[in-house]
């Protein structure tokens, strides 16, 4: 496939859960691309649709979910394929690491076999070679004594080590795209940093693309090229990570950034809160999903969903009727300016 073709492109994708009395829209009008060798961050609160998006891409959404629109993986339309071919194709192209390594690994099977399994499933390789590949990967992800560890069971490893094993398993088919779905949420900060560093190193060394899904803006901030902010099943802001963090245009992104406590703030700083609750699937607002909680919402916000607009940087897009002004300096990430000021 050609190099400038994006590894993943979702066009007008939507997900619906069939339910009574009416179907529930989990995701609507999802439009994004992941270029080769780049990392995309997907952020959002619980219920925003992050995991459903990932599952739809992987083709592992529950049977009650209807996925519409178009998903192009490495230039191929996934929905034009037969289900069996599709699963095969996705399995070879995409590796995924889930949040909880304990539930992703089978406790009764040695970890090495679980890694090699995918390799034997997708490529017709002899048992010995699969084993060798698995051991090689265990070494890559930083497991000491990989030959011995091959035969260990999941409970022999700590949470961070299990997550490393999951990363090894996701790499066995040489994927072009690696998806980390809240892969470090269950880990300690120090271990989280190690695992994130590992993911980033692997992505860069193997020239893969990566999707980093997280509820934590800090996890995504320094480690992705582009960022997609989901809210209530809609993409509310999408653009280069540095641009979105320095100059968020959607009011939700801005509110989310200022609701986070920063280590640079003095003790007992009052945090900004976002009033109200995220929208429930059953009764979504008619217009902008954020309108009921937004301080600047007016007439059209409550009735029509805003279209995607483009900022000064054409790659920076946001869906808001009354977007925040384009400011030059780092307006919201006050931590950076504070630190800079203190350094002088």
């Amino acid at each position: 496939m050609s190099e400038d073709l994006p590894i993943l492109a979702c066009r007008d994708m939507s997900c619906q859960i069939s339910a009574r009395p009416k179907a529930l829209d989990v995701l609507q009008n999802i439009d994004f691309t992941v270029a080769r060798h780049t990392a995309l961050g997907i952020v959002g609160e619980s219920g925003a649709g992050k995991s459903m998006l990932v599952k739809s891409i992987m083709g592992i959404a529950p049977a009650s979910v209807r996925v519409n629109g178009q998903i192009m993986l490495d230039g191929q339309d996934l929905f034009a394929m037969k289900p069996r071919d599709r699963a095969r194709f996705i399995g070879r192209k995409v590796g995924i690491v889930f949040q909880n390594p304990m539930t992703s690994l089978n406790p009764y099977v040695p970890v090495g076999r679980q890694i090699a399994e995918a390799c034997r499933q997708h490529f017709d390789v002899p048992r010995d070679e699969a084993r060798q590949r698995a051991i090689e990967l265990l070494r890559t992800v930083g497991i000491a004594d990989p030959e011995d560890c091959y035969d260990y069971y999941p409970h022999h490893f700590s949470g961070g080590m299990k997550q490393r094993i999951m990363i090894a398993a996701s790499l066995i088919c040489h994927p072009d795209l690696l998806i980390a779905d809240e892969a470090t949420t269950a880990l300690d900060v120090t271990v989280q940093k190690e695992v994130l560093d590992l993911l980033q190193t692997i992505q860069e060394q193997r020239q893969m693309s990566m999707i980093l899904v997280s509820h934590n803006l800090g996890v995504v901030a320094g480690r992705t090229d582009e960022i997609l902010v989901l809210y209530g099943g809609h993409v509310v802001e999408y653009g280069p990570t540095s641009e979105v963090f320095r100059n968020p245009r959607h009011r939700y992104t801005e509110a989310l950034l200022s609701a986070m406590p920063h280590m640079d703030q003095p003790t007992h700083t009052r945090l900004r809160t976002i009033a109200g609750q995220p929208p429930s699937l059953a009764n979504k607002p008619a217009g902008c999903p954020f309108a009921p909680r937004c301080g600047a919402a007016e007439g059209p916000c409550h009735t029509t969903m805003p279209d995607m607009r483009t900022g000064t940087d054409s790659r920076h897009r946001f869906a808001c009727h009354f977007p925040l002004e384009q400011t030059v300096g780092p307006a919201v990430v006050s931590g950076a300016t504070d630190r800079g000021a203190r350094a002088q």
Binding site: T190, D197, L217, L257, M263, T273, G335
Partner: protein
Amino acid sequence: MTNTRLPVAGTSPSRLLEIENLSVHFSRSGKLMRAVDGVSLHVAAGETLGLVGESGSGKTTIGRALLRLLPEANTQWQGSIRYQGTDLASLSRAGMRGMRGRMQMIFQDPVSSFNPRRRIEDIVAEGLVIQGVPKAERRTRVEAALADVGFALADVAGRKPHQFSGGQCQRIAIARALAVQPDLIVCDEPVASLDVSVQAHVINLLQDIREARRLAMIFISHDLAVVKNVSDRVAVLYMGKVVEMGSGEQIYDRPAHPYTRKLLEAVPVVDASRKLRPAADQQAIPSRIRPPSGCAFRTRCPRAVARCGEEEPILTPAPRGQMVACHFPHDETAPFSTARQA
């Protein structure tokens, strides 16, 4: 907003809670695990003490030991916990029950700390029933406690926990703790399971209540940014021991212990101005059952020398005023945050 209530060596008249040399050991299948090992802490009235550390560092065990909520089987604990002069170890079960009228706890997962089949007003009133508050008074106190966390009793009466979101449940858990009018609340990861926008709400709420009621808090969290925001003083725990303790500014701006620096470096910072360079180094966390000799952190410490393996460092005053347990503490004058910036 610099905090001046720094700990002064010796005794302070306003000390609400004093923990001295607390050790908690769990024994499982013949192996002994020192979950907490010789920890001494104190909390003044109206003060918030933050406890930070990785999982397994003993944060929760300390919190539970304070309220005597540790399992009885296979657990030994030593040391003294004095609450306004009363030694908790000397109290009978009934005495401890009375003591819990002055000390309360909020847990990480509010949904699982509620009985799903009970009504909200009964959940909030439960502490009052145990404390023997007369029925006539209970209703007003439940109403007041719910009002403090932003609920009207009339709106929530008769509803069950599953009808509330995670953030709302956590507010109800705070109301349950407040209803008995305690002087001290142990908050064990109260915001860990909440979304960012909801988390800000709960933190602000806890701050308001703390100010209004002059409430002391022990705030246990693995999130260093949250602890910085709420705490007057911070104690950093590593493998059951306090390795550094001081005011928020001391710990965050001039951390002396290499472990504190490592923790702070690992916090994901919302700063997208440059892309992070992944570090290749990683060290295994030592076993809790066979901790390393000397300083427990030496296996992961960049500064460790032979002495660290032979002699265990004890908490001593560091150059910047905080207490630190390290043979070679950092004493860089530059605030730590500038080092992060570079």
